[in-house]
């Protein structure tokens, strides 16, 4: 362990924290409000730089200390796993911010505060990626959700937004309480707060039943955060009611933070308890993908559809967890790799999909699928993006999603002799087909249906795209296509996290 | 051994109670007389023979004899409990006031913190009283009181932090000793500390502390919660008899308690130079009481000098002036502490 305060290792967090404060300060100054957004973007960009230097440092010889950096008595670890996920959070925050700029500016929102809260939430996610003890990860998780509660209710005059925030808040608080209860049981049994300590304390020995209970409660707490069935009730309403850029962030940043917490806590703290969390997550994964997909089929609102789709996608990400109890060694690493890779691909696709929804809403002022019909006739470019992102989410080969699904199935099949793994694979395959149906339905509505008569022709194709939104759409579209053709670009980062599963 | 413990405890409790009651009664009398003279009146004159010294006692007896009226709309349990909560919060402060090196009922490690924590309980009592009375004036008074107490709790706490930084301890005895041993640039003789060093170094903190304690006590110029001209008597409106007496006593006991804390934190407490610790146990209380009396006089003086602040002015004073200044005070103190 190096010095107590390793500034290099903490540089991304420090820069981000400084940015968060700077955004608030810029908001106070008598300058145009979008300066705050620019400050945030610059800060996000600046905090990616130390991530790269840290990543290089573990490769280069002249760097004094390479390898994982342990800070604060093993409770904060900067390794390749955390670096990759921090990168994911920062990049998705970058895109979320771009999505938000036009939206926040056009309506009566508190702009500076909006960016401040968004960045603070990202800061929490970044802290979570490195946290290796119960307290840090809980505080990080709260920092992710706290601003999200507020952002969900940002449209103050809109009753739906209020409902969204309230539901999200109450469920979030409940899940935090369950999580804390579980953590307290785990701490009570093992007497350890750090994950390495918990892992060491659980080797082989006979553990009392309350520990199992604690593990289950912790899983439940995180399941709320990743909106996995049966803890998903808040998701569609919150996604629909919250401002759309916030929904985009919730479905990617906040969800990814929940997954990171789950990954970290399952693969490190509960590495010896795979027999407990494997089957539990098997059930949750199957329920999420099945229920999410089946309900999504019946949705008539694009945002609700994406909400249920994100529940289903969450089920796909959870599937590799389920086989972790059946495999060892390289295949265990494969399970972790599958989830992380899925997260990386999903982030771009889903942000893009929400970007498209926002652009579509600026055209037709509605997120109802019926009013989107025939969009290709007056907005062909946008309709092309609909095809890209929704087919990518469905997993159609030349686009990004197929590789994510491939590694997910690979991971599931690696547990193949086991009947449960086979069953999971079959269910996932059926679900992938069902999912294709409703993604394709959106594409069909946009391209093949006729323009609804009640929309006056003059209003169609009205306002042009906001430049920030266009930039966000461009980035995500390019990322979706390029990573679909060359999946190695992103899966390289997934590979880098592999070793996390095999322990430290 | 166990018996000994209970006996000591009993004596300590009796002493705390006695000190509180006497302090409250004396300051009530002070208030009556001082306010009278400030208004060119004579004040109480007959009770007790000379100067009307027994007036507070007579008042107390009168209140005890009176019938206690509990109106119909009152939430009886909460209504009855409220005065006890208020009085308990105040009484608990007396436990840690050091009257001498050993003249303290309980020398806690975190004396100051304890005082701030326990005094916040009174707020709840005030709210209980205001709500349970089932009377709009009382409710308004309770709400105002709560808003005010929350707002001024912060500068009160923040003002203390400066002293704690300088002294390096939270114990009240420790803070007194730290003031006794203060050295200006490492050379000053001890006797110079008769001029309390923290009064000079923490003048800003002292001013904030006094202002905030006035507000915490809901005394003019911060008596919006019981503003007679608009709220009848605020959260006290429905109280009568013994329970009213408790609120009344609680207010003056609180004044003495906060004055004692202020004297200990900023004015050197019980300490005198050239006096051994043993002797200080006897002289200390006198010294402290003198300082308390000065501060109580100051409180009374302010009450009869300043007009009442409007509610919004009152909140602005706390949030826009006192808290930022207190924060700045902490920063400056901390920086100076590190530099020197």
């Amino acid at each position: 362990m190096s010095a107590l305060f390793d500034y290099h290792a903490l540089a991304p967090e420090l820069i981000l924290a400084f940015t968060v404060m700077a955004v608030l300060a810029v908001d106070l100054m008598p300058v145009p409000k979008y300066y705050a957004a620019v400050t945030g973007l610059v800060g996000l960009f600046a905090s990616i730089i130390p991530l790269l230097t840290l990543a290089l440092c573990s490769e280069l010889s002249f760097c004094s200390d390479n390898g994982a950096r342990l800070l604060f008595g093993d409770s904060y670890v900067v390794d390749t796993f955390s670096l990759v996920l921090k990168g994911l959070f920062l990049v998705s925050a970058f895109i979320s911010l771009l999505l938000a700029v036009g939206y926040v500016e056009s309506d009566r929102y508190y702009q500076g505060e909006y960016y401040f809260l968004l960045l603070a939430s990202v800061f929490g996610a970044v802290v979570m990626a490195s946290s290796r003890d119960l307290i840090s990860i809980f505080v990080g998780l709260e920092l992710v959700s706290g601003p999200a509660f507020l952002l969900a209710g940002w449209r103050k005059g809109d009753a739906r937004s209020n409902e969204a925030a309230l539901k999200f808040f109450i469920v979030g608080v409940l899940s935090a309480a369950i999580l804390l209860f579980g953590m307290s049981l785990i701490y009570g049994v093992t007497g350890e707060l750090t994950f390495s300590g918990i892992r060491a304390a659980t080797v082989g020995g006979e553990l009392p039943a309350v520990f199992t209970l604690g593990v289950l409660f912790v899983l439940m707490g995180f399941a709320f955060k990743v909106s996995a069935v049966p803890f998903h009730f808040w998701t569609p309403d919150t996604y629909e009611g919250a401002p759309t850029p916030v929904t985009a962030y919730l479905s990617v940043g906040s969800k990814a933070a929940g997954f990171v917490g789950l990954l970290v806590i399952c693969y490190s703290a509960f590495a010896n308890m795979r027999d407990i969390w494997g089957p539990a997550l098997w059930i949750i994964a199957v329920a999420s993908m099945t229920l999410g997909n089946l309900i999504a089929v019946r949705q008539t609102n694009v945002i609700r559809l994406l909400g249920y789709s994100s529940i289903a996608q969450g089920g796909f990400m959870l599937a590799p967890f389920a086989v972790a109890s059946m495999v060892e060694g390289v295949e265990l690493e494969g399970a972790l790799f599958a989830t992380v890779t899925y997260l990386l691909f999903y982030a771009f696709m889903n942000l893009g999909a929400f970007g498209v929804v926002m652009a579509g809403m600026s055209k037709v002022k509605s997120a109802e699928l019926s009013s989107w019909s025939g969009m290709a006739q007056y907005a062909p470019g946008l309709s092309m993006l609909v095809v890209i992102f929704f087919f990518a989410l469905a997993g159609v080969p030349p686009l990004a999603g197929w590789f994510a699904k491939l590694v997910m199935f690979q991971a599931i099949i690696s547990g193949a002799p086991n009947v449960w793994a086979v069953l999971l694979g079959v269910i996932a395959a059926v679900n992938a087909v069902v999912a294709f149906f409703y993604y394709a339905k959106v594409v069909k509505t946009v391209w093949m249906d006729s323009v609804p008569v009640e929309i006056p022709a003059a209003e169609l194709g009205g306002s042009g795209l906001n430049p920030a939104l266009a930039l966000a759409l461009g980035i995500t579209a390019i990322a979706t296509i390029v990573t679909g053709l060359f999946p190695g670009v992103l899966s390289f980062f997934g590979e880098a996290t592999r070793t996390f599963a095999s322990g430290f | 051994m166990i018996v000994n413990f209970w006996v000591t405890l009993g004596i300590k409790m009796a002493l705390v109670l006695g000190v509180m009651l006497v302090g409250a009664l004396v300051s009530i009398f002070g208030e009556l007389k001082i306010s009278a003279h400030m208004q060119s009146r004579i004040g109480p004159y007959f009770a007790g023979g000379r100067w009307g010294w027994a007036q507070p006692l007579a008042d107390g007896l009168k209140f005890i004899q009176k019938e206690e009226i509990i109106p119909d709309t009152v939430d009886v349990r909460v209504f009855k409990l409220a005065p006890y909560v208020v009085l308990m919060g105040t009484m608990a402060i007396y436990v840690v006031i050091p009257f001498g090196p050993d003249m303290v009922a309980g020398n806690l490690d975190l004396g100051v913190f304890y005082v701030l924590a326990i005094s916040s309980i009174s707020t709840v009592g005030v709210l209980m009283a205001g709500w349970s009375s089932g009377n709009k004036y009382s409710l308004m008074g309770g709400l105002r009181a709560a808003a005010q107490l929350i707002a001024y709790e912060l500068p009160l706490v923040l003002a203390v932090v400066g002293v704690v930084i300088l002294a390096g301890t939270l114990s009240l005895n420790g803070i007194v000793e730290a003031q006794a041993q203060w050295q200006w640039f490492g050379v000053t003789p001890e006797w110079l500390n008769v001029i309390p060093p923290y009064l000079i170094l923490q003048a800003v903190g002292f001013a904030i502390f006094l202002t905030a304690s006035l507000a915490e006590l809901s005394r003019t110029p911060f008596d919006m919660p019981i503003a007679e001209s608009e709220l009848v008597m605020g959260y006290l409106t429905e109280y009568s008899g013994l329970r009213f007496t408790m609120f009344f006593l609680g207010e003056y006991a609180g004044m003495v308690a906060l004055a004692a804390i202020a004297s200990t934190l900023f004015l050197g407490g019980y300490w005198l130079p050239f006096v051994s610790d043993d002797l200080l146990n006897f002289i200390g209380p006198v010294v402290l009481i003198t300082k308390i009396a000065l501060l109580v006089f100051l409180f009374i003086w302010m009450r009869w000098t300043f007009p009442r602040l409007r509610e919004d002015q009152l909140q602005q004073l706390a949030w826009r002036i006192l808290i930022p200044v207190a924060l700045a005070n902490i920063v400056v103190t901390a920086v100076l502490k590190v530099v020197f």
Binding site: E113, F149 | A117, W131
Partner: protein, 182 residues
């Protein structure tokens, strides 16, 4: 011995407070019950040498949070009788059944022993010990928590305060839309 006496006195109080909190019809009574529980817990901290944490418990919960609770309850002006109409049919029996099932599960698990082994030596919860830990090993969660507090205040103000659109450059029309629902 002393600890036992304290426990015997305050543990029932804490439970009674918690039950009052849940069962009371009147929100203010609920708040009072919660206050009693929190205060009793503070007493337990004291009896376990956690003076600092006890004081924090009192100042934060009793002082700040409960005051805020009461404040809000009074501002909203809840009537003593709450409307208990339920939208979902049979919600209550199902909730009770599930809750009892969970309780049974927890108790069944706990019957095998809650904390199997004492860990480490008891630490004296003095300020020095607490602050050494807080500003040493736990500095990061501590700072993150401070950010959490800033978020709470910023967000609360932004959500609670209605302000007209304030885009730089059109300050002029600010007064025109002042007070309008945003």
């Amino acid at each position: 011995m002393g600890e036992l006496v304290v426990f015997v006195i305050f543990a029932p109080l804490a439970l009674v407070g918690a039950l009052t909190m849940v069962a009371a019809r009147n929100p203010v009574h609920s708040a009072m019950g919660l206050l009693m529980t929190l205060f009793s817990v503070a007493v337990f901290y004291v009896s376990n040498n956690g003076h600092f944490i006890a004081a924090v418990q009192v100042i934060v919960y009793a002082g700040a949070i409960m005051t805020l609770f009461l404040f809000v309850i009074m501002l909203i002006g809840v009537d003593s009788a709450q409307d208990n109409q339920e939208v979902l049919p049979n919600q209550r029996p199902i909730a009770v059944a599930l809750g009892l099932a969970l309780l049974g599960l927890v108790l069944a698990a706990g019957s095998q022993g809650w904390v199997p082994r004492g860990t480490g030596s008891p630490v004296n919860g003095t300020i020095e010990n607490v602050s050494d830990e807080l500003f040493g090993a736990w500095i990061l969660p501590f700072e993150v928590t401070s950010l959490l507090l800033i978020i709470a205040s910023v967000g609360t103000i932004a959500l609670a305060q209605f302000r007209p659109r304030a885009i730089a450059g059109d300050e002029a029309d600010e007064s025109a839309v002042d007070g309008e629902l945003v």
